[in-house]
Every structure is written in structure tokens, then in C-alpha cells.
């Protein structure tokens, strides 16, 4: 066997360590590049979480108000931490908040929302993660901002918090036409 062959483990290790050092050294912790950014929200077909009989398609979501699509699951601890923020966003802005319940169990998801409150206008049930594949989802939580024209303008991997709202979501929402903020908050 070729002698160089036995250096492969070392090369793999060097590569992994290099990758981590590069990752940790990144100052600009902004966004993961998404192939879908500035592309139209994909066509899809999914079940409603609360009503398995009801099928939801792209046309049912896009148009009118801007969309905030949030991928979540009951097995995801960060989603629980993020939940409060989503409720606040729902109170602040004229947007359609759509949840995608990702690779989860329907009964658990329903009781979770009953317990912590339901900020969503509509929740899709993505048991197999197929819609997640369409959207290029890595894990949960992830959040997409979709313009009224149906274009994905922003993607957040990880939790949406006050900083993301202020620095990323709000400016993009304000750039869209129409009255985005609810009255009580427009004056702030």
C-alpha cells in the first residue's frame, strides 16, 4: 500500500482543526449564505398542524402582508427560548407569522403551543422535513423573511432575538411598502 495513505488521518484532523479556527476567528458573524436568498419562496404543499385534512400551498401564504416563516420543533431548546420573542413580534408588526413544525409529533406540537402560547397565524406540519429540504433548512430554529412579492429577503439560522429584530428584520420590513408596524409601536 502507498505510504502516503497513512497520512490521511492527519490531513483530516488538520482540516477539521483549521475549519474550526477559521470559524472561531470570523468576526463578521452575520449570515450563512443561502442559495435561496433573493429567490422566490419555493412552491410547496403541506398539512395544517391543527387540521390534517387541510392542505396549504404557496399561494395561500404569499401576497398581501410580509411573511415571517419560522421553523421550529418541540425537541429544540433554542425554539423554546425564542418563543417569547416571536409573540412580541406578532404584537408589534403587521406581518403574517407562519410556523413550520419540523420533524415533530403532532400531539406534542399542539400541546406545546397550548402551553406556551401560539404566536403563529398559521402552522404547517412538516413531519418528514420535506418542506425543510425545499427551504434548505439545517436544523431548528430558522427564520425566513419573505416580501409581499414572495421573495426571500432574509434568512436567520438560530434564534431570532431583540438584536436580530432591531438590526436585521425591522430595517428590511420598513423598506417594504405599506404600514408594517402596528400603531402602538410606530410612535416609538
Amino acid at each position: 500500500m502507498n505510504k502516503a495513505f497513512f497520512y490521511i488521518p492527519l490531513l483530516v484532523f488538520v482540516f477539521v482543526v483549521g475549519f474550526f479556527l477559521a470559524g472561531l476567528g470570523l468576526d463578521n458573524r452575520n449570515e450563512l449564505p443561502s442559495a435561496l436568498l433573493d429567490k422566490p419562496f419555493p412552491n410547496f404543499q403541506a398539512e395544517d398542524l391543527f387540521d390534517p385534512q387541510r392542505t396549504v400551498r404557496r399561494e395561500d401564504l404569499v401576497g398581501g402582508r410580509p411573511l415571517l416563516v419560522n421553523v421550529w420543533a418541540t425537541w429544540c431548546p433554542t425554539c423554546a427560548a425564542e418563543h417569547e420573542m416571536l409573540i412580541r413580534i406578532g404584537e408589534r408588526a403587521h406581518i403574517k407569522l407562519v410556523g413550520i413544525n419540523y420533524k415533530d409529533e403532532r400531539t406534542k406540537a399542539v400541546s406545546w403551543l397550548a402551553q406556551f402560547g401560539n404566536p403563529y397565524d398559521l402552522v404547517l406540519y412538516d413531519e418528514q422535513g420535506l418542506l425543510g429540504v425545499e427551504l434548505g433548512v439545517y436544523g431548528a430554529p430558522e427564520t425566513f423573511l419573505v416580501s409581499p412579492e414572495g421573495e426571500i429577503v432574509y434568512k436567520r439560522v438560530g434564534d431570532v432575538n431583540e438584536r436580530i429584530w432591531r438590526e436585521e428584520l425591522l430595517p428590511r420590513l420598513l423598506a417594504m411598502n405599506g404600514s408594517v408596524l402596528k400603531v402602538a409601536h410606530a410612535n416609538q
Binding site: 472561531l24 425537541w75 438560530g158
Partner: protein, 649 residues
């Protein structure tokens, strides 16, 4: 009295570090010198003595409530019962690190005690390698995470208490077991380094390593099982495995060690798989470092932790790069020598070990990706995500089923090749039994998915083939302990799979609102809620619920608690469990609702104990195999030779 105990501890640790450095120099400079090897043994024992003093000083500081020490102030409280004060020593990063060092010294001394088994150059190089590791660990403890650092003059009146989650029996025993396993893998690692330096790794070398692999693997198995059991009863969610980074941190080295356990057996019996066994020895300990050292300390599970404390993180990364990178470099330059082509057929133990290793490596890759990639995403995007149990389960269920199927064939296989007729005969006979059993299983459990049904059937297949083989062997000969250990471990594996398959699909879980005297029916059980009363604990106030459960004729009480810990104000759920071999009844209190009503979580979990029972058997199997006569005989033989030489002189 006692004011300088912490300083004594720090000083002892420093001395141990100096001794470790000396050992490394002595061992590597003159590895073939008998006299130096004896001195080296003394130096290693000295390390253990001083680290023990240091550890004892830390225990003393906790027991005597010396809150001028930052680590004690952050992890203890004067109200804590004494046994939790002792276990609080390893309740945080700094102290668990001293425990880690203590175990490394302990394992090194065990190597010294078995000195007669090894040629002098292997013996010295193994000890020297372990000493190099110890130098790194002790420096890390002294310079970046000093457990004895004082809070002077701002000494707090009382400590901020041990995290209530850790105030529990499971957390007294789980970390020491786990650490013994993590650190134990350093010994096979050191043997691999010694073999590569020596330029010789053969069947005899494999025989030297095997007891160390077995015992550290067994500790790791016990540690993981204890952790899972603790999560089950302490977290109050009724789950026993969450694919949480700290769990994965122990699971990754375990997977590598399991692969090593099998591959080193092939190296011993057939003199092949040498370079692969060496690589697995390196990988096992490297994953221990990654898991025990980086993930458990929280430094890599969150990029945030790394940013807050870059010094610690950087030290670890550099240390890891030197140890792992150095050993892999050595591997690259030396491993080419160890090739030996020993032929074997498709139906042979060699090939099945290869299958075992391939599956375990794939599983390892899955766990690694699932654990590390969210960190990668976090590093880039700054946000935290989880891939979640669905990701792991999708890969793990099929992988483990294939693995279990392979295990079921083990008793019929020979080394080198197995007669076709024997295999066919075996398949026909055991297959017929299994088919009957499968029908029965389908009838009783009505499994919802194919994977559950196959999980149950393959585990039964393992049980049937192994127990049958055991009976035949016990009747004809006295089987060696190594064989009994293997059988025990494989039976344990079957138990665990059966437990996982049944409990994860047949459990009943109910979240209900219950008022006093209210009743809930769950399957065969009738659960009645009698009310909640307040109870005063040593350092907490508890709301204790009282439930009576009627299961046919039998009636029993369960008292789940909701505890509020005084010092930290945090609230803990203590589930009440009626544990049974066939099923657990599990009740935990949720939130108080209006009036006297409470949110209550009820679980009925069949065969959940089998998950840990299986792990226990696996670990025991590993220990039993260590006492096989051939590891002992080696020692007596060598001793005899030394004795003869002495007599001749």
C-alpha cells in the same frame, strides 16, 4: 487550622506536574534501561501521591466550607449535606479536571503494578506518554482553571450552592465512572504510541493492550448508562437519551472504543488489522479529549463560551493539536510497516468485525456531524440551532439494526472461514425459531413500524443464538472468561436494543390536570391524586404530591416533588418512579394550577430498565473478560522467567 489547605493543594499539584515532567524525560531519554524504568515507576507513584493530596485538599476545602476559595463559593453552600459537599468537588469544570488528573495518575500506577507483563522499552514509553499527557493536564489546571484560587478580600459569607440538578446520587457516581473511562482510554493510546516508537505492533502487543481497552470501555459504558438513568429520573421529562452535546461527548469515544475492542481482538488472534487498531487507539483517546475536555467543559458547545474565555479554549485547542496531531504524524510515518495480509473469507469473524467497525465508524460520523455542525453554524451565523433527535434517529435505527443482525451470527462464526453448510444449517434452524417468535411479537406488541418489529426480532435473535451456544459450551468444556465476557456483553446489547425498541414505541404519556381526589385511568393503571403538602428539606422546601396507583390487585404510593432550593431559588422537579423490571410508572409534578389543581405528567414505560440493564451487562462483560486466564498467565510466565534468572545468578 485549615487556612493553608488550599495552598497545600495547589503546591502538591505543582509538584505532581514537576514529577510528571521528570517522568516524561526519564522515560523517553532512556527507554531500554532497567534501572531507570524502576525509578520511573517511583516517579509515577509519586504523581499519584501528590495529586491525591491535592484532591484531598479540595475535598477538605468543600467539607470545611472555605468560601474564600472561588470554586468552593460557586459550587457549594453551608446548608449542603456533607456527601453533596464532597461530590460538589466534581460539580464544576475546575474540580472535575483535578478528578480527571487523579484518574490518569491512577491508571498510570496500575500500569506500574503490571510491569512484569511488558518488555522494558514498552513499559517506559507507555508511562512516559501518560506522563506527557499529565503534564499538559496539570498545566491546564494550574494556569487556566485553578480550583484553589482565592476570593480575597471579597470573601462571601456563604456559597452560591451546587446546581440543584447535581444534588443527587446519580451525580455522585456518574462523573467519576465516566472520567475513569475517558482517561482509561489514554492507556491504549500510550500503548499505541509506544508500539509506533518501537516500530513493532504484533499479536503480543494486542494482548498487552486488551485488558486496558476492556476496562476503560467498561467504565465508559457504566458512566454513560448512569448518566442516562440520571437524566431519566432527575430531569422529569421521562426521556432517557436526548442527543444532547454532553451525552454525545461520551458517546463518541464509546463508539470508537467499541470498535477498538473488536479490532484489537482480531489483532491478537490473527495478527492482522494492526494499523487499524493503532488508529482506533489514537481515535478513542482523541475523542475522549474532545468530549471530556472540550464539550463537557462547555467550551465548544457554545461559541459564546469560547469567546468569553479565549485563553482556556485556545490552550485546549493547542494541546489537542499537539497530542492528536503529533500521534497522527507518528502514525503516518510508521503505520505503513505494520501491514500484514492475512487472508480470511466472507463468513469469518474477521469480516464480521470489519462490518462491526464500519457500522460503528458510520455511527460515529453521524454523532460527530450532529454535535459539531451546529457549532459550525453558530460560528458563522451567531445563532444556535439543533439538528434534533429526528436527525440522529433516522441514521441510528437502521445502523443499529444491521449491527445487531451481525452480532446474532457471532456464535456460529469461526476465525478465517466458516463452513457454508454450518451457516446454512444455522440459518435454517435459528431462522425457524425466530419466525415463530416474530409472529408472537407481532401478536403481542402490534408494533407500529417495521423498525420496531425488526429491533425486537434481531435482539431476540442475539439472545437465542448466544444463550444456545453458551449452554453447549458449558456442557462440553469450561469456557474461558473472555468468551463469557463476550457473551455477557452481546446479551447486554440485545437487552438494550429490546428496551429501546419497546420503550420508545409502547410507552404511554399523559399530561393531565388533576384535582385532589381526582382519578385518571392510564391503560391498566388507575392513578388517584390525594393532594400536595409542604415539606422542609436540608437546603430546600418541597411541595410533595401524593398519588396512589392501582394496578389490578396491587396498590402503591408515589410522591413526586417540586423543590425550591433556598440559596439559588431554583426549582427542581423530582419525579416519583415505581421501578419494575417489566415497566416503570413515572409521575412528575408540573405547575400548580388554579385552586388545588396541578398539572401532572404521567408515564407508563415498559422495559425502560432494560436499556440500562443491558448497558450494565455490557460493562460487566468487559470486566469479566479482563480476568481471563491468558492475561494472568503471561504475568506468571514472565515472573517465572525472572525467578529462574535470579536463581541462576
Amino acid at each position: 487550622m485549615g487556612a493553608q489547605v488550599a495552598e497545600l493543594g495547589y503546591f502538591s499539584l505543582t509538584l505532581a506536574g514537576v514529577l510528571a515532567l521528570t517522568s516524561a524525560l526519564v522515560g523517553f531519554c532512556n527507554p531500554r534501561h532497567e534501572q531507570w524504568a524502576s525509578h520511573l515507576g517511583c516517579l509515577v507513584v509519586g504523581q499519584l501521591v501528590f495529586v491525591t493530596i491535592s484532591f484531598a485538599a479540595l475535598i477538605w476545602s468543600f467539607v470545611s466550607d472555605d468560601f474564600s476559595i472561588a470554586y468552593v463559593a460557586n459550587h457549594s453552600n453551608s446548608l449542603l449535606p456533607w456527601y453533596y459537599k464532597v461530590s460538589a468537588v466534581w460539580g464544576g469544570h475546575e474540580g472535575s479536571f483535578v478528578l480527571w488528573i487523579l484518574f490518569l495518575c491512577g491508571w498510570s500506577v496500575l500500569v506500574v503494578l503490571r510491569r512484569d507483563n511488558y518488555p522494558v522499552s514498552i513499559y517506559t514509553r507507555v508511562l512516559a506518554t501518560l506522563a506527557v499527557l499529565n503534564v499538559g493536564f496539570i498545566c491546564f489546571a494550574l494556569f487556566t482553571s485553578d480550583p484553589f484560587a482565592r476570593l480575597i478580600p471579597m470573601t462571601p459569607q456563604d456559597g452560591s450552592d451546587l446546581n440543584p440538578l447535581l444534588q443527587d446520587f446519580g451525580l455522585i457516581v456518574h462523573p467519576p465512572m465516566l472520567y475513569a473511562g475517558y482517561v482509561g482510554l489514554a492507556v491504549p493510546f500510550a500503548f499505541a504510541v509506544a508500539a509506533m516508537l518501537e516500530g513493532k505492533a504484533d499479536a503480543l502487543w494486542a494482548r498487552w493492550v486488551r485488558p486496558w481497552v476492556n476496562s476503560s470501555w467498561a467504565f465508559l459504558t457504566f458512566g454513560i448508562a448512569l448518566g442516562s438513568w440520571w437524566a431519566y429520573y432527575e430531569l422529569g421529562w421521562g426521556g432517557w437519551w436526548f442527543w444532547d452535546p454532553s451525552e454525545n461527548a461520551s458517546f463518541m469515544p464509546w463508539l470508537a472504543a467499541t470498535a477498538l475492542l473488536h479490532s484489537v481482538a482480531v489483532t491478537e488472534k490473527r495478527g492482522t488489522f494492526k494499523s487499524w487498531t493503532l488508529l482506533l487507539s489514537i481515535a478513542g483517546f482523541s475523542l475522549s479529549l474532545l468530549g471530556g475536555f472540550i464539550i463537557r467543559s462547555g467550551i465548544l458547545t457554545s461559541v459564546h463560551a469560547f469567546a468569553v474565555d479565549p485563553e482556556r479554549g485556545l490552550y485546549i485547542l493547542i494541546f489537542l493539536a499537539i497530542i492528536v496531531g503529533g500521534s497522527l504524524l507518528l502514525y503516518g510515518s510508521r503505520a505503513g510497516k505494520f501491514n500484514s495480509a492475512v487472508p480470511y473469507g466472507l463468513w469469518s469473524r474477521e469480516f464480521f468485525v470489519l462490518v462491526n467497525n464500519a457500522i460503528l465508524m458510520l455511527s460515529l460520523a453521524v454523532v460527530m456531524w450532529g454535535t459539531l455542525s451546529p457549532i459550525g453554524y453558530e460560528a458563522i451565523s451567531g445563532g444556535r440551532i439543533s439538528l434534533g433527535p429526528p436527525f440522529f434517529n433516522r441514521f441510528f435505527v437502521p445502523l443499529m439494526i444491521v449491527l445487531a443482525l451481525a452480532v446474532a451470527f457471532v456464535p456460529v462464526l469461526n476465525w478465517k472461514r466458516t463452513n457454508k453448510a454450518r451457516i446454512l444449517n444455522f440459518c435454517a434452524r435459528e431462522g425457524a425459531i425466530l419466525f415463530t417468535v416474530a409472529l408472537l411479537v407481532a401478536f403481542i406488541l402490534r408494533p407500529e413500524t417495521v423498525s420496531v418489529a425488526t429491533g425486537v426480532i434481531v435482539s431476540l435473535a442475539i439472545l437465542i443464538t448466544h444463550i444456545k451456544d453458551l449452554i453447549i459450551r458449558v456442557k462440553t468444556t469450561r469456557p474461558p472468561l473472555a468468551y463469557l465476557g463476550m457473551t455477557l456483553a452481546h446479551v447486554g446489547f440485545a437487552f438494550s436494543i429490546l428496551g429501546v425498541a419497546v420503550t420508545s414505541t409502547q410507552s404511554v404519556e399523559k399530561d393531565v390536570r388533576m384535582e385532589p381526589q381526582g382519578q385518571v385511568v392510564m391503560g391498566e393503571l388507575n392513578v388517584e391524586f390525594l393532594g400536595v403538602k409542604t415539606i422542609q428539606g436540608p437546603n430546600y422546601v418541597s411541595q410533595q404530591g401524593l398519588f396512589t396507583v392501582r394496578d389490578g390487585e396491587t396498590v402503591y404510593e408515589l410522591r413526586p416533588e417540586k423543590r425550591r432550593y433556598v440559596a439559588s431559588g431554583s426549582v427542581m422537579t423530582e419525579a416519583a418512579i415505581d421501578a419494575g423490571l417489566l415497566a416503570d410508572t413515572y409521575i412528575s409534578l408540573g405547575e400548580p394550577l388554579e385552586g388545588d389543581a396541578w398539572a401532572v405528567r404521567l408515564h407508563y414505560k415498559p422495559l425502560v430498565r432494560w436499556v440500562w440493564l443491558g448497558a450494565l451487562l455490557m460493562g460487566l462483560g468487559g470486566i469479566v473478560a479482563v480476568f481471563d486466564v491468558r492475561y494472568r498467565r503471561l504475568r506468571q510466565r514472565l515472573k517465572g522467567r525472572v525467578g529462574q534468572a535470579g536463581a541462576a545468578a
